[in-house]
């Protein structure tokens, strides 16, 4: 077997192990949450017997290890459990499957993340390469300054500024990004424009500066001087000699920011009232809706692990020492 495939399979196995560890952590931190769901729903006045009965119904009276086992086995079969909310003291059960709650939200989040990524990644690569090429020039300094500015402001501030300019003063885009499953693609794109722009502004700086640094870091290498002394132009030196050796660190930072687009955008979602998974999770935490919180946390973990795995693989296949062993 080719060593690269071997390494990749090894990383994949590590990813599965990590996911298992994460599931343990998610579950036990739920256990550590203060308060009790039964008490919270039924109110302070509820009789202890009522609360106990309610807990029994949800299976909360069983030992943690049993509940963990039930949860994990169910998840492996694609069942994230049933949401706690929708139940109430009246005894009418209007609760929904967690999967049904999460999936549409996840789709929205992924849609927004993809748009932001499609703009931000090529843009930061372009800016990173060009600032490395024209380093220490006016262009380099302006780009650095601009991206630093956008990353220095809190996301909600950037969001409100964009609303002020592009929704209020010059009403080009809507300030609310409320979409639902019936919204058409074009309309969806239009409504998600401002949140996507906000996210782009927030993540470009990190990726662009890392690209620039990774390339400049290599410019001191003897093989770069050799390329110069062989008559290569600055553009050729950067694109052909530095960039191919810089993919690993660049991929890592891109993966990090893409993961952020999925798991860290709750503030932006709130500002634009965008129905993403982040809001869902925050609401679920407030309601102590444990199955939903666990489901969301697990999805976030999978996102992180997959993206980092991808970055690792890119690092491996762009390293000739690993790709072409002796």
């Amino acid at each position: 077997m080719h060593p690269v495939i071997k390494t990749v399979l090894g990383r994949l196995a590590m990813g599965v192990l990590t996911l298992f560890a994460v599931s343990l952590i998610i579950f036990s931190s739920m256990e550590l949450l203060p308060g009790d769901f039964g008490q919270a729903i039924l109110g302070q006045a509820a009789l202890p017997e009522t609360v106990a009965a309610f807990r029994r119904e949800l299976g909360l009276d069983q030992p943690a290890i049993v509940r963990y086992w039930q949860w994990v086995t169910a998840v492996l079969q694609g069942d994230l459990g049933t949401s706690f909310s929708g139940r109430n003291a009246s005894g009418v059960d209007r609760s929904r499957e967690v999967v049904d709650l999460v999936l549409p939200r996840l789709r929205n989040t992924l849609f927004l993340a993809s748009i932001a990524a499609l703009i931000a990644v090529p843009l930061s690569l372009l800016l990173g390469v060009t600032t490395a090429l024209y380093r220490n020039t006016f262009y380099d300094r302006s780009v650095n300054m601009a991206t630093l500015t956008t990353i220095s402001f809190p996301e909600f501030f950037v969001a409100y500024l964009l609303i002020l300019f592009f929704a209020s003063l010059y009403p080009i885009f809507p300030s609310l990004a409320n979409v639902d499953s019936d919204t058409l693609f074009g309309e969806r794109l239009y409504r998600a424009a401002l949140p996507a722009l906000t996210l782009t502004l927030v993540i470009v700086a990190h990726m662009m500066r890392m690209t620039r640094a990774a390339i400049i870091n290599l410019l001191a290498s003897p093989y770069i001087q050799m390329a110069r002394l062989s008559g290569a132009s600055s553009a050729e030196v950067i694109l052909k000699h530095a960039l191919p050796n810089a993919w690993a660190p660049i991929a890592t930072v891109i993966a990090f920011n893409l993961a952020y687009l999925v798991v860290g955008v709750v503030v932006v979602e709130v500002v634009f009232v965008y129905p993403g998974i982040g809001q869902l999770m925050v609401d679920a935490v407030a309601m102590r809706d444990i199955p939903v919180v666990q489901g969301c946390a697990l999805i976030f973990a999978v996102t992180y692990i997959l993206l980092n795995l991808l970055a690792d693989i890119i690092g491996i296949i762009t390293n000739p020492r690993l790709l072409h062993p002796r």
């Binding site: 001087q225 002394l229 290569a232 050796n245 762009t318 072409h324």
Partner: protein, 539 residues
């Protein structure tokens, strides 16, 4: 693409009163202080001097290139009638890689790890449209063959890490040769190679330069090497010319004191002493990294007390691994190590503090062997405290004594490694090793990174300390002249095995085992005909 505009009486390269400055410590310091060079077509100039003499700066300046942080402040550089100073970058790029090419010191670092060798070797030629890709590659394969590279038809399809250092250096020579340039700058092209490999590379370079009648500047710190390559030699020191002469004249009758001192290490010659008092003994040692190929294979070595044992071999011979096994850093798989007839535990963890104290090490790179944030006092004080439990007062007193011993005064105690010269750093490392009051010191290539004159000082110091303190040295080196200078006994290693062990006089007098013969005959001598004679005798 050789442009034959040059008239007969015009030099190919003419540098006049060149001045270059470098920026450091917030000031511009002169690096080249007014140097003149005249080079005709087909001529090879040897450029020799110690580190910091400005050889590489001058070599690069001949291409009209200055490293970042350097600037040309005066003079002129005229290549084939064109002034390079002030020539716009895009015009200079038309010369680089085609009419002037460069062979760097470390081919391993100078090839881009991401591209196949043949693509790198032909890039400049194709870019300049001297020939199309197909014929450029065919020509490169022919050059690989001329340079006696193995599998010359396919070696170019490999990546740099798949090829050995000596082969890479030859590929780089082929790359420099491929556009048939008018001038090649060789910047210490064989310094990183083993002697047996160096011979082949030197021969290949010499032949090809002659074959295509290419002019060259050959930069090195090794006079014996330059003697093989150059028509005339220029000696540099502190950015100034010391002297210049025809190679044979320079070797026979160097005029300046400085030039004579350049090969002074070769003048040390310790008288060998025999001893049967064995302090350390390796018996049938096998060792490997991670259970793979045996790096040491049935190695047995005896070390006499108070004497110097030189372990000599090329890279991959297992000499440094032997040091790691002796110190316990790498536990052996089989065999035992006896220290004063008591078996040493295999691992460092298993050894007592006193057993650790008895065997100390000095490393090749004094720079990286010291914590840059610690003062000399702290560096030397650490073994005094750890092994000998000295208190602060005793420690300072002893540190000053040790500084005296290594011929540095007590003001050094508060200095940081960054405030020391290369030779001083190595002296501090020696003091640190002696501080533990060991019986045996392992010196791993301790002079390889130093200039000749500094080397001489360090070797003399080590010999003095041995005489005064009775220390035993295991001196690991690849440099035969160092072995000749300081050893009592010699062990020759090759591919993890001991080829022979014996007194210096026995090892260096014939008959030799086959490998020793190859090794000894590959050491360049101060004779311009040495290489040609050697090559013809080997064929």
């Amino acid at each position: 693409m050789s442009n034959k505009k040059t008239t007969k009486n015009q030099s190919l390269l003419e540098i006049k009163d060149l001045k270059i400055e470098g920026f450091s410590d917030e000031f511009w310091h002169p690096i080249i202080k007014g140097i003149n060079v005249k080079l005709q077509r087909g001529e090879v100039m040897g450029l020799i001097g110690e580190s910091g003499a400005g050889k590489s700066t001058l070599g690069l300046a001949a291409m009209g290139y200055t490293q970042p942080g350097c600037r040309i402040t005066g003079g002129s550089i005229s290549f084939d009638g064109q002034e390079l100073i002030g020539m716009p970058e895009h015009k200079k790029r038309k010369l680089w890689g085609t009419r002037i090419t460069y062979v760097a010191q470390s081919a391993a670092a100078s090839f881009n790890p991401a591209h196949r060798l043949i693509n790198q070797a032909t890039a400049a030629k194709i870019r300049a449209k001297i020939s199309d890709e197909k014929s450029a590659k065919e020509d490169a394969r022919e050059l690989f063959k001329t340079l006696q590279l193995p599998e010359h038809n396919t070696i170019g399809d490999r990546y740099p890490h798949q090829v050995s250092g000596g082969q890479l250096q030859r590929v780089m020579t082929a790359m420099a040769m491929s556009p048939r340039p008018d001038l090649i700058i060789f910047d210490e092209p064989t310094t990183a190679l083993d002697v047996t490999t160096q011979v082949e590379v030197l021969a290949a370079m010499k032949d090809i330069v002659k074959e295509f009648n290419t002019a060259a500047i050959y930069i090195t710190h090794d006079l014996a090497v330059v003697a093989q390559m150059a028509d005339f030699i220029k000696v540099l020191r502190y950015g100034e010319e010391v002297e210049q002469a025809n190679t044979r004249i320079m070797l026979d009758t160097p005029e300046k004191e400085y030039t004579k001192s350049l090969w002074s290490v070769r003048s040390i010659n310790k008288k060998e002493e025999k001893s049967d008092d064995i302090v350390l003994s390796l018996k049938n040692i096998d060792a490997s990294y991670g259970g793979g190929i045996k790096v040491l294979d049935d190695v047995s070595i005896n070390v006499s007390r108070g004497k110097t044992l030189a372990v000599v071999g090329e890279s991959g011979s297992g000499k440094s691994t032997a040091a790691r096994v002796i110190t316990g850093l790498l536990p052996q798989q089989n065999g035992q190590i006896l220290f004063n007839n008591i078996e040493l535990p295999k691992t460092l963890r298993g050894r007592s503090k006193d057993q650790k104290r008895q065997i100390q090490m000095i490393y090749q790179m004094a720079d990286t062997a010291m914590n840059p944030k610690q003062t000399v006092g702290e560096i030397i004080g650490r073994p005094l405290e750890f092994y000998l439990n000295l208190n602060a007062n005793e420690k300072e007193k002893r540190t000053i004594e040790l500084l005296e011993l290594i011929e540095l005064d007590e003001t050094f105690i508060d200095r940081l490694p960054s405030e020391l010269s290369g030779g001083q750093k190595q002296r501090i490392c020696i003091a640190r090793a002696i501080a533990a009051d060991p019986e045996v010191i392992i010196c791993d290539e301790v002079t390889s990174a130093l200039d000749q004159i500094v080397q001489e000082g360090i070797l003399k110091l080590l010999m003095k300390l041995q005489k005064e303190l009775g220390i035993t040295y295991i001196f690991i080196t690849h440099d035969i002249s160092t072995v000749k200078a300081i050893s009592d006994e010699v062990v020759v290693m090759f591919q993890g095995k001991v080829v022979e062990q014996g007194l210096k006089s026995q090892i260096f007098s014939p008959p030799h085992p086959k490998y020793t013969e190859l090794l000894l005959s590959s050491v360049p001598e101060m004779d311009p005909d040495w290489l040609s004679n050697l090559i013809s005798s080997r064929n």
